[in-house]
């Protein structure tokens, strides 16, 4: 009897449930059909079973995964359940990679069944359980529409659970898409710019993509680079803007011919960057504060070898070696004063740069050379130093002792001004990766910027400073003698060369009128030097007259400084001439499927010119460019150009050179080439571009 009643009651429940389903499940919305299905037709107390929310969008539309990627919204389910029934979080099948223009979304193309585990408490004595779900989802094709549905599925509750054959296939299909536990070890090395994911086993020649659970942890649209290593491999992923990545769990998707396989990874996270606040704040420029200080210091060291700096310093070094034996104390003091001269000059330079920045101008390293006035003054100074080295005249017999030239002048004033001069003549020679350090400095607080500049100065002063404090070193320097005059005279030629180069720079900036003014000015300087040199050390009316002539010539040369400023040539950077850079051209060319190589350069940048001469202008590179269909664009920063400054900033740089290779695929990340180029590097990079 009892059983009969139960059967009859059960029958009614089923009928009622069916009617209920007809009313609230499935629900057809405008763009999506939503349906709640259950793996069991009848549930039992104490049982956990799977239900699914199937979303079937219109053809070509998609819904979203738990991390929706660049746009969109994850589907959510809010349950309303009777006592003694609980629901798990959504168990997500592996996602699809859905590109849209420059964006990539993570979601499901077409129908998907999101799974949920429902648990019935063992002491649940109800005869049926209504499972009521409110689902919210965003469905998109080109456009996006938010939809929602209230879905109710009521299941009878009995001693024995009964499977639901109608839903079995759909749920099984969804389960096949669930990420599998991943057998091997995995490690994520989180750097400032990239996350390197190393996995123990990885099939070769497959399409592979890693979908992290944490939003913002990666640049979704940037291609992930897979490098096979034995059984396993490395996946290089561009880091997103999330400040920290404490957990890099996610789903690895491997596309086989037969379909996609998904594995859940819970990698051990290792932080590569120092986890200090400073390191975090500097993630922007890709280097930390201490790296920037170190680069600045090394950059300063390298400046010592530049053709315009080396003569000044080597003479000074020989001069101190001369008296080192007798007066070691004075040598130390001079080395310190020289260092002070360098540091003060760099502090002034930093202050100038910061002042210009505070005025709202976008500036970068080398900005001082964008002014024709500064270029011409430097040309005068270098030329005058050259004349002095040639022995045309000697400075300093009045100013500070009995030295042979400005640089060899003894005394503290001489040491201090040698430091200033070293800084002044060093400015045209932007050493590699000073650009990185200074670009970083420009994005930092004023204090940090000054610290980085001072590190640069310290680098420049370091060899001299060390020389002054280590007697063993300066004792090894060759003994001064007659050969020094020859050496000194020989060193005049790099100075003339640097002056000639600056005049050429001026030609780019101010045209023929500027060159005419510069050459006239240099002539006047030469005349002044000669007249002054003749007069030096003699008394009488003739020497006085000669000195007066020298002063007049100097004044005339200084007056000419104004000429280039007033005849500044039009900027040539962004004109539409063939091969000239503009941001639009890069975008257009890539849109046409053409890769682009951009050479950010300036006439006053010696590293740039060296690279152009040694690497970029070779026939082999020209052939490679042609062969790979790469368009070569030149962004000329000789004169101020805010568009180029902005483009440099985008790469965390504030100066040239910068070499960027843009793949044809507009969503692919541009590749930055080193600041010192060789022909081989350029050709290899071009080759890699067209590799699949």
């Amino acid at each position: 009897m009892n059983t009969v009643w139960k059967t009859i009651f059960g029958f009614f429940v089923l009928v009622w449930a069916a009617v209920g389903q007809a009313q609230a499940n499935p629900v057809q919305k405008e763009y999506t059909k939503a349906e709640l299905i259950s793996a069991v037709a009848q549930a039992a107390p104490g049982q956990t079973f799977r239900v699914g929310l199937t979303l079937t969008p219109r053809d070509g539309w998609h819904t979203y995964w738990r991390n929706p990627g660049d746009s969109g919204m994850a589907t959510s389910i809010a349950w309303e359940l009777p006592a003694g029934v609980s629901a798990s979080e959504i168990i997500w099948p592996g996602p699809d990679h859905i590109p849209y223009g420059p964006l990539v979304n993570f979601g499901y193309k077409g129908a998907v069944t999101l799974l949920v585990d429902i648990t019935i408490a063992a002491d649940n004595t109800a005869t049926s359980v209504p499972l009521k779900a409110r689902a919210d989802w965003l469905v998109c094709e080109e456009i996006c529409v938010p939809e929602d549905a209230e879905l109710t599925l009521t299941l009878p509750l009995g001693q024995d659970s009964q499977a639901n054959p109608n839903a079995a296939a759909v749920i099984a299909r969804a389960e096949q898409r669930l990420p599998q536990a991943y057998g091997g070890q995995s490690t994520a090395r989180v750097g400032a710019q990239t996350i390197d994911l190393t996995v123990a086993t990885l099939p070769s020649d497959r399409k592979i993509f890693f979908f992290p659970y944490a939003e913002n942890s990666i640049e979704n649209a940037t291609p992930q680079t897979v490098t096979q290593k034995g059984e396993g491999g490395d996946i290089a992923i561009t880091r997103g803007f999330a400040k920290t990545v404490p957990d890099f769990s996610g789903v690895l998707r491997i596309d086989h011919d037969s379909g996609a396989a998904f594995y859940e990874l819970n990698p051990v996270v290792e932080s590569v960057a120092a986890p200090s606040a400073a390191a975090e704040s500097s993630a922007d420029s890709g280097i930390t504060v201490w790296q920037a200080v170190l680069f600045a210091f090394i950059g300063g060291l390298i400046l010592n070898l530049m053709p315009c700096v080396f003569p000044v310093l080597s003479l000074k070094a020989l001069a101190i070696a001369n008296k080192a034996a007798s007066q070691p104390g004075e040598v130390r003091a001079e080395a310190l004063v020289f260092t002070l001269g360098v540091l003060v000059s760099f502090a002034v330079l930093a202050a100038a740069l910061l002042a210009v920045r505070a005025g709202g101008e976008a500036v970068g390293w080398g900005f001082q050379l964008q002014s024709p006035l500064v270029v011409l003054i430097l040309a005068y100074v270098l030329f005058a130093v050259g004349l002095s080295l040639s022995g045309v005249f000697s400075l300093g017999s009045r100013l500070g002792g009995v030295g042979q030239s400005l640089a060899a002048k003894s005394g503290y004033a001489g040491a201090f001004f040698t430091g200033v001069l070293a800084t002044v003549v060093a400015t045209p020679c932007t050493a590699p990766f000073m650009a990185g350090a200074i670009g970083f400095a420009l994005t930092q607080s004023a204090v940090m910027a000054v610290v980085i500049f001072l590190a640069l100065g310290l680098g420049l002063a370091a060899p001299f400073l060390i020389l002054g404090f280590v007697p063993a070193l300066y004792r090894r320097l060759p003994k001064p003698g007659a050969w020094m005059d020859t050496f000194k005279q020989a060193l005049a030629f790099p100075m003339y060369g640097a002056a000639a180069w600056l005049v050429w720079v001026l030609a780019q900036q101010a045209g023929p009128m500027g060159v005419a003014a510069a050459l006239t000015g240099l002539l006047l300087i030469a005349f002044a030097a000669w007249a002054y040199g003749r007069a030096a050390g003699r008394e009488g009316r003739l020497p006085l007259f000669e000195k007066a002539l020298a002063v007049v010539a100097i004044v005339a040369a200084l007056a000419l400084l104004r000429v280039p400023e007033t005849v500044t040539a039009a900027p040539t950077g962004t004109t539409a001439a063939s091969g000239a850079w503009s941001a639009d051209r890069v975008t257009d060319l890539r849109a046409d499927g053409k890769p682009v190589f951009v050479n950010f350069t300036a006439a006053w940048c010696i590293t740039c010119l060296a690279n152009e001469r040694m690497a970029l202008s070779s026939p082999a590179v020209a052939d490679a460019l042609k062969q790979h269909g790469v368009t070569y664009l030149k962004a000329d920063w000789t004169n101020r150009d805010p568009a180029i400054t902005a483009a440099l900033q985008q790469f965390g740089r504030s100066g040239v050179p910068l070499y960027v290779l843009y793949p044809a695929d507009p969503s692919a990340a541009p590749q930055i080439l080193p600041q010192i180029l060789t022909e081989g590097m350029v050709i290899d990079a071009l080759k890699d571009l067209t590799k699949p």
Binding site: D70, S71, G72, M73, Y100, G101, P102, L103, N105, D136, L138, C140, E142, I143, C144, V145, P146, Q193, E215, N216, A221, T222, F241, D284, S285, G286, I287, Q291, L294, I298, G299, L301, I302, L305, R357, A358, G359, G360, A362, P432, F433, G436, T443, A583, D584, T587, P642, A643, T645, A646, Q649, Q650, F651, G652, A669, P670, I672, P674, Q675, I676
Partner: protein, 202 residues
């Protein structure tokens, strides 16, 4: 010295792996010159000396609708302008795609919704949007008086289309502006932009 140069080269090579797509917070914002619905042409440099807020929009995107139907976007525009900021609404939808509007339609939308942007920029080529790596509607940017980018990301911290969420959400863009004006820093300088993808040209 050789060693130092070797170290220098290695360091240079290391830095060369840096690749960047989005504009940098703390660096100069990309310059632009673009036509607006009022018939004028605007450049970012026109507004030097004032903070500038950029709002990417698409009037039919449900995420944008949330902010306009609730009056949240209009109130934010008003508050920002009262605080001395310039508010530029940018439409980067390509012709024929959702959200693309004629200048007249853009002006009508502004009037009908009681919106008060300084100008509505019509970036149908998507050049401005791509220079800023704008991804979604809405997607918000704050540029300071000197043209430096100070905030980029979402309108607020509730990435939904539910209108009620506006009431409890943290308005990131107004918070960024207020904090910038008060202290010269922005705590949440980068957040996740959320919404519909921008309908760039194919």
């Amino acid at each position: 010295m050789k060693r130092i140069i070797g170290l220098a080269m290695a360091a240079t090579a290391m830095m060369a792996t840096i690749a960047v797509a989005a504009p940098k917070t703390g660096a100069p914002a990309p310059a632009f010159t673009v036509a607006a619905s009022d018939g004028k042409t605007y450049s970012l440099s026109d507004f030097k000396g004032k903070p500038v807020i950029l709002e990417w929009t698409n009037d039919q995107c449900p995420f944008v609708v949330k902010h306009y139907a609730t009056g949240n976007m209009q109130a934010s525009q008003k508050a920002a302008k009262e605080d001395g900021a310039v508010w530029l609404t940018v439409i980067s939808s390509a012709p024929g795609k959702q959200g693309h509007v004629s200048p007249e339609a853009a002006n009508k939308l502004t009037a009908d919704r009681n919106a008060v942007p300084t100008a509505v920029l019509l970036d149908e080529s998507g050049v401005v949007g791509q220079a800023y790596a704008a991804k979604t509607t809405p997607h918000m940017y704050l540029i300071d008086e000197a043209g430096i980018l100070r905030y980029q990301g979402g309108m607020d911290d509730k990435p939904t289309t539910k209108h009620d969420d506006v009431k409890t959400a943290k308005n990131y863009i107004l918070a960024a502006l207020t904090e910038w004006k008060a202290s010269g820093t922005v705590t949440d300088a980068e957040t996740k932009p959320y919404g519909c993808s921008i309908k760039y040209p194919d």
